[in-house]
Symmetry: C2
């Protein structure tokens, strides 16, 4: 284990920090352990290889870098990356062409509900050449627009409801008795009048309250409607996400091990773990980063995750991000994820 000791930039002098920074940049750039020789050629670092070796030895003692074997250069450890992204990184602003692409793709018209999310995900992967992920807006916080019941065979009823981000959800419920189309219509009307515009979480509360009320007070129709609503919104819906560009990950040497790759892709289709991981970003404002083992999920041990939450009408509803090897161009990815999250929010807002 890398241990719990966190190194801050206070613990190191200017020179060591700069050296670490260039080492990490160098390693990110060409993917090979960096030796004292190449570092000595840095124009701002007027030191001999020997001195650099001394500094590197210190950095290694602090667990910021390590070398795969004696006669190789050094590469950053997780803590090294962490210190790098926390305090050393100089983020690059988006290139205007990228911004254009983002805006035209996201803010332009799209023809299906989940479509914007798809586009966002694809954008993330296309631009970064890694994998892009966007969680669907959380059902809990999202508000109901419209609900509808359609009779199927017997007591089976198809419920369709539309929520805020124009998501259309559907589900089959089993009612306790047979309802006529008219009754279903009536129930839907009632629910629409009472629940429309409220969050699903709120609706679940209201349903509970209604059920507790003195039954003599309310009429049968309302009772029926509420019980159908209960069936509809009963269990917590499983959240979901849109992933694109997974195949981009197959190019990276750190994922060339088939077993690793398999585990990663299994995690992707499992969804559970990934959702859980992404959910941790819902609370935090702005960009959040998991580097390597920090995520706590084995499958992501050799990956980093750059994420940001996005909001509809100032309410945080989802998370998006980029998944790639630990060795990624953080200085470009971070601002990109940041902007994409904001634009996605904007795109979903205006409706």
């Amino acid at each position: 284990m890398s241990g719990g000791v966190v190194i801050s930039n206070q613990d190191l002098n200017e020179r060591s920090l700069y050296l670490l920074k260039t080492l990490v940049e160098r390693y990110i750039h060409d993917g090979q352990p960096v030796g004292s020789r190449v570092l000595s050629k840095d124009p701002n670092l007027k030191l001999s290889p020997a001195t650099i070796r001394n500094v590197m030895a210190d950095l290694e003692d602090m667990g910021l870098i390590h070398s795969p074997h004696t006669s190789a250069g050094r590469m950053p450890t997780v803590s090294g990356y962490r210190l790098f992204v926390n305090s050393l990184l100089t983020v690059k602003p988006l290139e205007s062409s990228e911004l254009d692409q983002l805006q035209s793709s996201l803010l332009t018209e799209h023809d299906g509900p989940g479509d914007v999310l798809n586009k966002a995900s694809r954008l993330l992967s296309d631009v970064t050449k890694m994998a892009g992920v966007v969680t669907l807006p959380r059902r809990e916080t999202v508000t109901l627009r419209h609900i509808e019941f359609l009779p199927m065979s017997n007591t089976r009823v198809l419920v369709i409801f539309v929520t805020d981000g124009q998501e259309v959800h559907n589900k089959i419920i089993h009612t306790d008795r047979l309802y006529s189309p008219a009754e279903l219509q009536q129930a839907a009307n009632y629910l629409n009048s009472v629940f429309a515009g409220r969050s699903l979480a709120k609706i679940r509360d209201l349903i509970l309250k209604e059920m507790e009320q003195d039954r003599s007070q309310v009429n049968q129709g309302m009772m029926d409607a509420v019980s159908m609503a209960r069936l509809t919104f009963a269990q917590q819906p499983k959240d979901d996400y849109v992933l694109s560009g997974e195949t981009n990950l197959m190019g990276f040497s750190e994922l060339s091990d088939m077993e690793r790759l398999k585990q990663l892709f299994e995690a992707f289709s499992q969804k559970r773990g990934v959702i859980h991981l992404l959910d941790q970003c819902l609370l935090a404002e702005g960009v959040q980063i998991f580097i390597g083992e920090e995520s706590g999920y084995r499958a992501f041990d050799h990956c980093s995750l750059v994420t940001s939450s996005y909001s509809i009408n100032d309410e945080v509803v989802g998370v998006l991000g980029v998944i790639g090897p630990t060795r990624m161009a953080y200085e470009k990815v971070i601002p990109f994820v940041d902007v994409t999250a904001k634009l996605l929010g904007a795109a979903l807002n205006s409706k």
Copy 2:
């Protein structure tokens, strides 16, 4: 190129056929080129290695087997596999436990429309330990149950329609003018009364006819309804499929080459090519098989595809199948795909 010469079982004597059969079985079983030595130990084949070598040389001349290099055994070519599955294969009936699993999974209750398809796909991959695929029922042949319009901002209208296999589709259309909720309701009522129960292809026809009619004859409401229907069903919808167990494919040595694997997975997320390939099975009754390069898609060069169409109410609407390495246990996979297709049809019928 392996050439267009197709070898049939007429062109070979009993012994050669039996030899080919055991060779293929052997190769499928342990994945290594089969030599004359092991073959000579087959109890039904009382021949010396030398004789077997002579027979194998003949088979090689006919392009049914080949050896990767001089001092290796032989393995089947695509034509060899073809002859094997066409005439030599002895299919194994399903094990009853597998049948149970199938029935209980597919015929049991499920709570969402696309859910059965998911389950079928997962079943295919779980049982075969390869990848399972199920195309969504083709929209063209599927019949409309119900349509609904929901106003969004401005002239944007969310259309929701439900089709046969209980699929719920939705789409945003842009109308030429602003419609009131009442008008939308009226339009939906009209369309439901006229179009419900007809296939989408038929509906598209009808729309065209209606548009051509003398406009003075019909009232404005009907005109509006039809024009909205036209927008809804205008372009051919992109078909789609459900894939599971892709990660199973990562275990096979024939796909251990990262470049190949990447191309395969890219084909999966591209969807286009795969759909096109699967569509070719819509016409054929029963199980169809593509072996290696037969599919015509580079990405599938080292894979085989065992497919079958499935039907709702005796109308072929989709295809399902299994994707795996050319070297797969056809004798088990074929009956399994066959039964799954029938059960899936049955599961979708009853509603």
